[in-house]
């Protein structure tokens, strides 16, 4: 009996001390939590309201004799309108609040550091543009926004950091992105949140948010690796891209200097912005995005380059600057 009481007390203590939310460690986590509190308050309010009214009616109007006859039911348009309009208004408020927050969440700040992520069964591969590569871990400095651009090498995965309240699917064959601004130093869970096979539950890791000093030390302390752009430059030569895409123009293919981020008119007539997705498409299905005045002779690199190498090449093209091109 005493043992049972002890376990009971321990459980109660655990329950009382247990947090109801994960650490709020990003710039939007507090806002998401506030919305959550509002939603919880609405839920509790209406649940308690309905439960208590039902309980009250259950007691007050319990059948006291088999022959009793209740009064007539009079439908009331006023009541119907009230309990249609009030919930609708509440929904409008919730929708506007949640959507505004969501739209804010969908726009990364311009100065965000870019991190590239490849998800594959069953691990996360994270790449800093300066070079370091991490498996299932990400070190970032506090208060510096980070934009994660990711893809999957096989099935659909999902990058989820509960402490930051952010989540996005990583899809094979395309890039998706999310951003966060870590505001608290600490260590936070990274989970895969889209079922991806046997070890879906093991596809987890840690995000380390460090002070600026500690982060600089970590960055310097690792083994010296080339930056993604440097790797990309090497691949650009190794795979022969440089032979056609001559810097300064004049080659069989357009120069890529200053191209990133610019709108480009394609031979099909449509105009597209040169972003990660377009460069990836150009590498894998080249003649779907060729430009006027050049022959569609680029060979495809499907099967020759893996996702990491494509991201390196994209980083290289980005490094060629995105200033205005002049008349080329």
């Amino acid at each position: 009996m005493i043992g049972l009481a002890q376990t009971g007390l321990q459980s109660a203590a655990a329950l009382a001390l247990m947090p109801f939310q994960p650490p709020a460690a990003s710039s939007i986590a507090g806002d998401v939590d506030q919305l959550y509190y509002l939603l919880s308050a609405i839920t509790i309010f209406f649940s308690v309201l309905i439960f208590s009214i039902i309980f009250y009616f259950m007691v007050k109007y319990r059948r006291r004799s088999e022959d009793e006859i209740p009064p007539e039911t009079h439908t009331s348009m006023a009541l119907e309108l009230t309990w249609t309009i009030i919930p609708s208004l509440i929904c409008v408020v919730l929708f506007v609040w949640a959507s505004a927050l969501y739209v804010r969440e969908s726009r990364p700040p311009a100065n965000a550091t870019e991190i590239f992520v490849i998800g594959k069964q069953w691990m996360w591969h994270l790449q800093h543009p300066e070079g370091p590569r991490e498996i299932n871990e990400l070190h970032v400095p506090v208060n510096v926004p980070v934009k994660i651009t990711m893809t999957s090498q096989d099935v659909i995965h999902d990058f989820y950091v509960p402490a930051f309240r952010v989540k996005k699917d990583a899809l094979p064959g395309r890039y998706t992105s999310l951003w966060f601004d870590p505001t608290e130093i600490g260590t936070y869970h990274l989970f895969c949140a889209q079922y991806c096979g046997t070890d879906h539950g093991e596809m987890i890791g840690w995000i380390y948010v460090m002070s600026a000093k500690d982060y600089a030390a970590w960055l310097a302390g690792g083994e010296k690796t080339e930056s993604m752009a440097q790797q990309g430059e090497r691949l650009f030569t190794q795979y022969g891209c440089i032979e056609c895409h001559v810097a300064g123009g004049g080659g069989r293919a357009p120069s890529l200097a200053g191209l990133y981020g610019q709108p480009e008119k394609l031979a099909s007539g449509e105009t597209r912005v040169v972003d990660e997705a377009l460069i990836r498409q150009a590498i894998l299905v080249p003649n779907s995005v060729h430009v006027p005045n050049y022959q569609p002779i680029m060979p495809t690199y499907q099967g020759q380059l893996n996702e990491e190498q494509i991201l390196d090449l994209i980083a290289y093209v980005k490094s060629l600057g995105s200033q205005e091109r002049n008349g080329k």
Binding site: L35, F57, M58, Y61, P71, W83, V155, Y160, K168, D169
Partner: protein, 545 residues
């Protein structure tokens, strides 16, 4: 003959022949075209499938008491949650009320002799059984591990499990749904008794009509989607494979185009049952009849345009997110209207607490919580955090189990005397209802908490800080299991030893309570003519002042 006032004291002289004993032998059942017998045959099959799905759930919850898995390897756990979802959705909840209570009651409630196409009805049962057989074959061959959602590329290219066999089972069972829905729509349109106008129909009929619309319009889409997935898996042709030009998100759009309305297939009939139970056990006309009726239709229609809320984090455009979010809020309103109308029906009623009423009241409370937690998921910013976590699992179990299943059990208990002619011991039934209510909340409420804390769903192993809540949930599940086992015992007992029920043991209104218990094969001794509204309970005149 107008529907007589419920007379629970003096039954007319009863004939001894009813649909159960009018013919004997296995052939008379397997070749029957009587909607009542077909309803019972469905009841037997789906109860079996429920047990299979329940065993899977039991093993899952046992495994989850330890963070590293207490019982099975991750591979097996993945097969367990997939089997649980597939069986419970496609082979239990979707057919549950429509195929059992719907088949049994619709013709009687509208005053007809049978459904419009009785032979098609029997064929639908055989089709359903065939689908179940394929599903069982898939389970016996090891089970699939794709989740009930079958997302490619995992399900088309990576899973080494009998996906095609299971997909075939679902495909075939889908046709059973389509034909049942078709049968119900035509029956309700064309075979109502004289005087049974649309607005005199019981709300159970309105609910099943709305459900049948979804059966007809939604199920073919999942059929073709599963068909395309099967072809993709067999022939690797690239419809959903990005490496050869396909789009895995196309599958998700097609899948959810059915599967979201499907959840309304699962809840609308239950809501219909609740309308019947609340009125019968408070002996009052429903508050706001046309509001409840039109809400059922509105839910069915709007349910077709909200599917994108399952895909808020797939990288779809912000605008798509906004549109699906606003529509998802809109679809919540008719359900809220119903909850308020049911509650108002109780006002100044004459309320009794037999088991069906306990289930109905439990439904209203739990559905309210489940529905409100849906708002967390319709809200874009919170959905980003909650999608793919246990919060979603808790939300839909509140609706499916706290809602749909409670409604189903309430309906079974309410109409059991009509179906079998026997009463079951109400004390045991009330105890079971209470145990189900308590066990349910213990199982699923902790999952809301652990979900917001960040525990993802479909995890065979999980981070240690979530263990306490998981143990609580598993403990609750064992209580819930007891609550489900008890009715099996006393309901079967009652079929042999229960006291005869008489025509109208509850004193309820409705054509089904005017005929014998069990009803004769042709349902009525004399075809009814309807002259009064639904739920036309005797009421006291307002006192003259």
């Amino acid at each position: 003959m107008s529907t007589a006032t419920a007379d629970i004291h003096h039954d007319p002289v009863e004939s001894n022949v009813n649909y159960l004993n009018s013919s004997y032998g296995i052939k008379s059942w397997l070749l029957t075209v009587d909607h009542k017998r077909i309803g019972l045959m469905y009841l037997a099959v789906i109860t079996f499938m429920f047990l299979i799905g329940g065993v899977a759930a039991t093993l899952m919850r046992l495994n989850l008491v330890e963070p590293q898995g207490a019982l099975v390897e991750p591979e097996t756990y993945n097969k367990l949650f997939s089997t649980h979802g597939i069986i419970m959705v496609f082979f239990f909840l979707v057919p549950s009320i429509p195929a059992t209570l719907g088949n049994f009651l619709i013709p009687i409630m509208i005053g007809a002799r049978d459904v419009a196409f009785p032979k098609l009805n029997l064929m639908s049962w055989y089709i359903f059984v065939t689908g179940c057989i394929f599903a069982m074959i898939a389970i016996i061959s090891g089970g699939v591990d794709t989740g009930w959602t079958f997302y490619p590329p995992y399900s088309s290219l990576y899973s080494h499990t009998p996906v095609v066999i299971m997909a075939l089972g679902i495909f075939i069972a889908g046709f059973s749904s389509i034909l049942t829905g078709l049968n119900f729509v035509v029956t309700i349109h064309k075979m109502r008794a004289p005087g049974m106008t649309w607005f005199r129909l019981p709300l159970f009929i309105w609910a099943l009509y709305a459900t049948s619309l979804i059966f007809i319009l939604g199920t073919p889409v999942i059929a073709i989607t599963i068909f395309l997935l099967g072809l993709e898996r067999l022939f690797h042709v690239g419809i959903f494979d990005p490496a050869i030009g396909g789009d895995p998100l196309l599958f998700q759009h097609l899948f959810w185009f059915y599967s979201h309305p499907a959840v309304y297939i699962m809840i609308l009939p239950s809501m219909g049952v609740i309308s019947e139970l609340i009125t019968a056990f408070s002996r009052k006309k429903i508050f706001g009849y046309s509001f409840v009726a039109f809400s059922s239709l509105a839910i069915a229609v709007i349910s077709f345009v909200v599917w994108g809320h399952h895909m808020f984090v797939t990288g779809q455009s912000v605008y798509a997110g906004l549109v699906f979010s606003v529509l998802s809020f809109i679809v919540a309103i008719p359900s809220a209207i119903k909850v308020f109308n049911w509650t108002a029906t109780l006002y100044k009623g004459s309320i009794s607490y037999q088991a069906p009423m306990l289930y109905a009241l439990g439904f209203i409370g739990l559905f309210t919580i489940g529905g409100l937690t849906g708002l967390f998921l319709a809200s874009l910013a919170t959905d980003v955090h909650l999608n793919g976590t246990y919060f979603v699992v808790a939300h839909f179990h509140y609706i499916m189990v706290g809602g749909a299943l409670m409604g189903y059990l309430g309906g079974i208990h309410f109409w059991w005397p009509k179906i079998t002619g026997r009463m079951y011991p109400d004390i045991w039934a009330r105890v079971a209802a209470a145990i189900v209510f308590i066990g349910f909340n213990l199982t699923f409420f902790p999952q809301f908490v652990v979900g917001y804390l960040g525990m993802p769903r479909r995890y065979a192993v999980y981070s240690t800080e979530f263990q306490f809540l998981n143990i609580m949930s598993s403990a609750g599940a064992s209580v819930l299991a007891v609550g489900y086992a008890i009715p099996l015992v006393y309901l079967i007992w009652s079929m042999r030893y229960g006291p005869p029920a008489g025509r109208n043991p509850w004193g309820a209104k409705g054509l089904e309570w005017t005929t014998q218990s069990p009803p004769p094969t042709e349902n009525f001794d004399v075809p009814p003519i309807v002259t009064e509204d639904a739920y036309n309970y005797a009421y006291a005149e307002a006192p003259h002042v």
